[in-house]
């Protein structure tokens, strides 16, 4: 799945490119580290030069040359429009409703777009202790919309989360609204196989597009619940040469910086 196949790009590259395309220009985007950061910066370096990237360490309008390893890399502050304290980022920006898109990854997701980044197994006796909530619960609560990006597999797309760290459409229907959140919830989940969107009524994630070469069977097989599939299933445009070049340049610069002892 991850090697460059005959098509000339990997499934991960397709996922990142598909995710990046969702980010409109001028968007204020609260960026999680990892693939979300990769996708958001790809967007900034291609079709969305005026997107405003916010990282939870307090950088607003970050323009990193290389992908940050963490949310507090110096790279993020260097060319940012503004740098504020962590309370300000969460209170004056995220909670205030200034964030158009919250861009999140996760370890597990359920059919309503709820996310787990806390534990596998029980909370008291975890099989795997994951890093925890970080900024995700409030991003999920307060961003106008949320984009989620993660690889599709039965281990990740589960019938029931071991732990609800961040709320999507809760138990579906009106249940998110009843929690009093001001943000709109997840509007898209981008995986290495395709694209899922919530049903407008029930909030249940529905497969709406497949990446070139993926099949409905693959997607169903990689999902821990009985996956809804849209009648008019789209096929994602493959990555353009331009997108691939920018993405690979970015990754190369990042890998070089990562090996280099910067200090």
């Amino acid at each position: 799945m991850t090697g460059v196949d005959a098509r000339g790009y990997t499934a991960d590259e397709m996922m990142t490119v598909a995710a990046s395309r969702r980010l409109g220009d001028g968007t204020v985007c609260f960026v999680g580290i990892g693939i979300p950061s990769q996708a958001a910066n790809l967007a900034r370096l291609t079709h969305a030069p005026d997107s405003v990237l916010i990282y939870e360490s307090g950088t607003i309008g970050a323009k990193p040359e290389v992908l940050p390893l963490s949310i507090g890399d110096g790279e993020l502050a260097e060319h940012a429009d503004s740098v504020v304290s962590v309370p300000e980022i969460f209170n004056y920006w995220l909670q205030a409703g200034r964030v158009d898109v919250g861009f999140l990854g996760a370890a597990q997701i359920d059919r309503y777009g709820n996310l787990n980044t806390t534990v596998v197994g029980s909370y008291e006796q975890p099989k795997v202790r994951l890093p925890g909530a970080g900024g995700a619960p409030e991003i999920a609560a307060s961003a106008k919309e949320v984009f989620i990006v993660l690889r599709q597999s039965k281990r990740a797309f589960v019938e029931k989360l071991a732990f609800v760290t961040s709320v999507g459409y809760a138990e579906g229907g009106d249940s998110r609204k009843n929690l009093g959140y001001t943000g709109g919830g997840p509007t898209v989940v981008i995986t290495d196989l395709g694209v899922l969107e919530p049903d407008p009524e029930s909030g249940e994630l529905t497969l709406v597009a497949l990446h070139p070469g993926s099949t409905v069977e693959e997607a169903k097989e990689a999902t821990g619940w009985d996956l809804n599939v849209a009648g008019d299933l789209d096929t994602t445009e493959p990555p353009t040469q331009g997108e691939l070049r920018v993405l690979r340049d970015l990754e190369e610069r990042t890998a070089a910086a990562r090996k280099e002892k910067v200090g």
Partner: protein
């Protein structure tokens, strides 16, 4: 007023067994030197507080320094797990670790409340998450004007906060710039404050987004050059990303971890010697 003194003296005088201790830093300015001094002085039963516990908390937890951890995200940034942290939670080694888990927004506001001498902070969050079920320090609160229900979290008031900064002046005022994260609130919410700095200067440089913590809000300032290594100090040195990657196999193995800590932390006099020690051995490259 801050006294400029040695780090050993500052830690032995201001940190006690059983204290609640926050060592803050958001990737930037992580107080590694201060954490090592706590480990060397074999402080015990600490309640460690931190939004983003990372390698230094991994080291402290692995060395049995901590009884409890209050946190919101525990990982090796850009690399993966904190294995000592996981070992303590998953298998109770070297002893069980009590945890109190929040989100970043919750932790940030808890520090703000502490710095403001308020018993609690209010935010929009937690509702519908399992955090609200497993963490007792999350409670609903109603707006007396609109009737809206929000979430309250109690103030954090560490006994000691330790941070690293770029510069102090001779009066003990401390200047930080670049990403300053939650350091101001972490310091101002604490009963005692220790700051390690890269250097003491006659006058601070000008930096937009720079903050100055006044001397009267600090107890001890200790000069420790490269005291945030392998994290970074904006304007002084970059982050040693290779160290973070090299830590993964060390932290993963109880024995390797013990040997590394014995050799490079317990077996050295101070942070300068620690830096020489890992450099000479090519230990982290």
């Amino acid at each position: 007023m801050a006294e400029i003194m040695g780090l050993r003296e500052a830690v032995s005088g201001l940190v006690g067994d059983g204290d609640t201790v926050a060592l803050e830093g958001f990737t930037h300015l992580i107080p590694f030197a201060a954490a090592h001094e706590i480990i060397r002085q074999e402080k015990r039963d600490l309640t460690l507080v931190r939004m983003t516990p990372d390698l230094i908390y991994d080291q402290m937890i692995g060395m049995g320094t901590a009884r409890k951890l209050i946190f919101s995200w525990g990982g090796n940034p850009g690399v993966g797990s904190l294995h000592r942290f996981r070992d303590a939670i998953e298998r109770g080694w070297p002893h069980p670790l009590e945890i109190e888990e929040h989100s970043h927004a919750g932790m940030a506001n808890r520090y703000v409340a502490g710095a403001s001498n308020l018993p609690f902070a209010v935010l929009r969050g937690y509702v519908g998450t399992d955090l609200a079920k497993v963490t007792p320090t999350i409670a609903p609160i109603t707006c007396p004007f609109t009737g809206e229900e929000l979430t309250a979290v109690p103030a954090l008031t560490p006994d000691v906060t330790m941070i690293h900064a770029q510069q102090a002046d001779r009066k003990g005022n401390v200047a930080l710039w670049g990403i300053t994260g939650i350091q101001k609130e972490a310091a101002l919410s604490a009963r005692r404050v220790i700051v390690t700095v890269e250097e003491v200067v006659d006058e601070f440089e000008q930096h937009t987004f720079g903050i100055v913590l006044p001397s009267v809000a600090i107890d001890a300032v200790a000069v420790v050059a490269r005291g945030a290594y392998p994290s970074y100090t904006h304007g002084y040195y970059g982050r040693d990303n290779a160290f973070y990657e090299a830590w993964d196999p060390i932290g993963r193995d109880r024995e390797k971890f013990g040997e590394w800590m014995e050799k490079h932390v317990l077996g050295v006099e101070d942070f300068a010697e620690h830096l020489r020690s890992i450099q000479e051995q090519g230990a982290m490259r």
